[in-house]
């Protein structure tokens, strides 16, 4: 089934007699895929005020449409949403609702926060077929509980998003990348030195065959100045400074290009940044680091329980491709709270049953 308006969505949920699989662009098929597909095609930008740095769009709006609209005004989504289609071998065009449901953030997360940090309002339909709004279109809002954050990253299990509102940032006119040929084991130290500097780093990762990469963005003079000073801070690792020609590195990192088309299960660990290289080493396979080491992408032999292999770690792991449980099992009291929320927002268990455990 395909819905093109919130009222159609309400009808679809009220009329549902069996579980629904909530689909945006279908580019992030993660976890249990159970139920009749319900494609959210509520599309279009309903409000965009560049002077207020805010945008509201239907949840089914293609990500590319939003990126093009804000780029035309010299702005951007702060959290650098990544596309996973090529990584997961899924065709289709990512939608903004899917990005929110999965709380997808790219390399700029270390500076500008996650998708959920830029999300300022939502409308969704809960499991009783009731449309609910939370948050709004202003960037400072503490009126009532923040269900906006709760909906981000809930993978459609609490309600089906119909509309999302974001705060935006000015796009940076200039950027520089510092590349350091260091092994994985050394990466977190290099990246911590960069992120702990005064020079406002907007990306810090490690790519196999390239090394550690660090990004600076902003006004032209400021970027030159900070790239130079940061190169001094990182001098021990002999950084090579690239300007706009380094942009491709960040596309590779956001899309996890080194792991495209590779054999093995695909895992994603969110850990304490200094633990990243060690977790990757324990996993043993090909790996990519983002978020200063705090995000580890890895391929492991099919069927391996990578959580066991990587333990102990503070954080959580997602199995994106493989036989293991997709989401990290939660401690009993946290699981009880999550279960309680699902039971109240989706009392009939209609939405993506079993996806998050």
């Amino acid at each position: 089934m395909r819905v093109e308006s919130e009222s159609q969505l309400v009808e679809a949920v009220r009329g549902a007699r069996a579980p629904l699989r909530i689909v945006g662009g279908g580019t992030r098929p993660v976890g249990a895929l159970v139920g009749d597909p319900l494609q959210v095609a509520i599309s279009g930008i309903s409000l965009y005020e560049p002077g207020a740095l805010t945008l509201i769009a239907g949840a089914g709006t293609p990500l590319s449409e939003i990126e093009a609209a804000v780029a035309a005004e010299g702005q951007r989504l702060p959290f650098e949403p990544a596309r996973w289609g090529a990584l997961l071998g899924a065709a289709g065009e990512s939608t903004i609702g899917g990005v929110v449901a999965a709380n997808v953030s790219g390399p700029r997360r270390v500076q500008a926060g996650a998708c959920r940090d830029s999300l300022i309002g939502v409308r969704f339909v809960d499991g009783t077929g009731t449309a609910v709004k939370n948050g709004g279109r202003v960037m400072k809002n503490v009126t009532g509980y923040d269900l906006v954050k709760l909906m981000a990253g809930s993978w459609g299990t609490l309600g089906v998003l119909s509309e999302v509102a974001f705060k935006l940032l000015p796009a940076a006119p200039a950027q520089a990348s510092l590349v350091m040929e260091v092994p994985l084991s050394e990466a977190a130290r290099v990246l911590a030195a960069a992120l702990g500097s005064q020079f406002d780093v907007s990306g810090a990762g490690w790519l196999p065959g390239v090394g550690a990469i660090v990004r600076i963005e902003g006004l032209e003079q400021s970027v030159s100045y900070r790239a130079g000073r940061l190169a001094e801070v990182l001098a021990a690792w002999a950084p090579k400074v690239m300007r706009e020609e380094g942009a491709g590195l960040w596309r590779d990192l956001a899309g996890v290009a080194p792991l495209h088309g590779q054999p093995g299960d695909l895992w994603r660990f969110s850990v304490k940044p200094s633990d990243g290289p060690q977790v990757a080493a324990r996993l043993g396979g090909r790996a990519v680091l983002d978020w200063g080491g705090g995000l580890v992408w890895a391929r492991v032999a099919p069927g391996t329980d990578a959580r066991k292999l990587a333990a102990p770690y503070a954080g959580h792991a997602t199995c994106l491709r493989g036989a293991c449980a997709a989401f990290e099992p939660e401690a009993a009291p946290v699981a009880a709270l999550s279960r309680g929320l699902r039971e109240r927002f989706d009392p009939k268990g209609l939405f993506n049953p079993g996806k998050m455990g």
Partner: protein, 476 residues
């Protein structure tokens, strides 16, 4: 302000409740003498007061858990309290409630510069978090103006902001994890020194839940390196409209200052009389602060100067020295005190879309004339978070009510303009009954369901946030 009738059963059982609390806490951690509990009768919304049944001041998470477990067992309401600086009545007690104060839990537990976080007990004051790390060149970004006194626990409860959140975000954007004690006395670890939630983002909904979902006893906070420097400019304008248009143009130009503060004529005049900051004689002024090295600041200020010039400013004053920077901020930082010289004041906190600024300021002026009460506007313009200050005389019968009615009109205007009732202070008791202006019943129902999960008996700070009528059936 209506509050629910206190439970006669709980009031009658006071002696027993205090005895049971004494049995699980050290002697000096339970206060029940009415002369002493009076110190907890209000927070910074001091127009409303009510001494609690008792006050407990635990020193450990275990003691907090024991208190909550006992109160849950005895069905005694609990009002959590950080430092009691809420402007919204977030920690105002009821006569049948035990106030759980976190003031004694103020230690730094862990500082990790490599991973850029600090873990503290939640009773620690906001400014002393930065105090623990500034020697190494780091800081904690959210900076509510009460930061000298307010506690991290309260910052998390209200999702506090501050002048610099245009760049650094509010509390929720700087919070990595909490140790939370539920009303049932269960200790839950949520989040930690890593990014994002593994499951549902419970941390996101706990932050800003106004102490209704649990008591936060520890917090892991994101810390940042201090910038090389910062410098403000002051720009005076001949009208509020022009100042508002200049704010929008600065933002559109791709500059992201750390702060854009706005003051209107009544506020400018009051601060001049109060602290002689040397502000220009004008209708509205902006203070814009940029960060970075001297060269970077110069690059940003140059752009801002060009934008401002197009709006024909009355004055463009760039701070040339730390002393001049201090003078530029002096008036802004004294604004509340200065307005306080004119009488009692009520501080509102609605947020509006920046584009609606001129219209909303004009309407506030009209409302002020209609009600016959003076209002000054000083606020964070970059993010549309207004702070109209209504001047009244609390000793004159009827003025408090008049002022509250006028405040409600202004907040309704903010909502109509596409904004919200509160940008950083929280709902508390103050804006509780206006929630229906912003939310439909089903929107409030969805929020209350979250409380049903965390606190099924609705014992924690229950008479706040939601209109009393809306929450009545749940509060029992």
């Amino acid at each position: 302000m209506q509050m629910p009738l206190p439970s006669a059963r709980v009031l009658a059982e006071k002696a027993l409740i205090v005895k049971r609390l004494r049995a699980i806490l050290p002697r000096d951690s339970v206060i029940d003498d009415p002369a002493e509990t009076r110190a907890y009768e209000c927070d910074a919304l001091s127009a409303y007061r009510c001494a609690p049944l008792a006050v407990v001041l635990p020193r450990t998470t275990e003691e907090v858990a024991a208190c909550l477990k006992l109160c849950h067992e005895l069905s005694v309401p609990v009002v959590p309290r950080g430092a009691g600086t809420s402007l919204a009545g977030g920690s105002m007690p009821s006569a049948d409630a035990v106030v759980l104060g976190l003031a004694r839990m103020n230690r730094v537990l862990e500082v990790d510069y490599a991973n850029r976080f600090i873990r503290v007990e939640a009773g620690r004051t906001n400014l002393s978090v930065t105090g623990a790390i500034e020697g190494e060149g780091w800081f904690y970004a959210p900076d509510p103006s009460s930061q000298l006194a307010c506690a991290i626990a309260g910052n998390i409860g209200m999702n506090s902001g501050g002048a610099h959140c245009l760049k650094y975000g509010v509390t929720t954007n700087n919070l990595l994890g909490v140790r939370l004690v539920t009303m049932q006395g269960e200790v839950v670890e949520i989040g930690g020194p890593y990014c994002d939630a593994g499951g549902l983002d419970l941390l996101g909904v706990i932050c800003g839940s106004e102490g209704q979902l649990g008591v936060v006893t520890e917090a892991s906070l994101r810390i940042l390196r201090q910038p090389e420097g910062a410098r403000p400019v002051l720009i005076g304008f001949s009208s509020n409209e022009v100042a508002g248009a200049c704010v929008a143009d600065i933002i559109r130009a791709g500059i992201l200052p750390v702060a854009i503060e706005f003051m209107d004529r009544p506020c400018i005049e009051a601060t001049e009389a109060f602290c002689h900051a040397g502000y220009p004689d004008c209708e509205a002024l902006l203070i814009v602060e940029c960060e970075g090295s001297q060269a970077e600041i110069a690059e940003q200020l140059d752009l801002i100067r060009r934008i401002a010039t197009a709006h024909d400013p009355v004055e463009f004053r760039e701070a040339q020295s730390p002393e001049e920077a201090k003078r530029i901020w002096l008036g802004r930082k004294s604004a509340f005190g200065a307005m306080g010289q004119k009488g009692d004041y009520m501080c509102l906190d609605g947020t509006i879309p920046v584009s609606a600024l001129p219209m909303v300021l004009r309407r506030i002026g009209e409302i002020s004339r209609d009600f016959g009460l003076e209002v000054g506007n000083v606020f964070h313009a970059g993010d549309g978070n207004m702070h109209p200050l209504i001047i009244y005389n609390a000793n004159q019968p009827g003025q408090q009510e008049l002022c509250e009615r006028m405040g409600a009109e202004i907040l309704k205007l903010c909502v109509e303009a596409g904004g919200c009732l509160t940008g950083e202070h929280g709902v508390g008791i103050e804006k509780r009954d206006l929630m229906a202006v912003q939310f439909a019943p089903e929107d409030l129902e969805a929020q209350m369901r979250v409380k049903d999960v965390f606190d099924p008996k609705w014992l924690l700070n229950a008479a706040k946030v939601f209109p009393l009528q809306a929450s009545a059936s749940r509060r029992g």
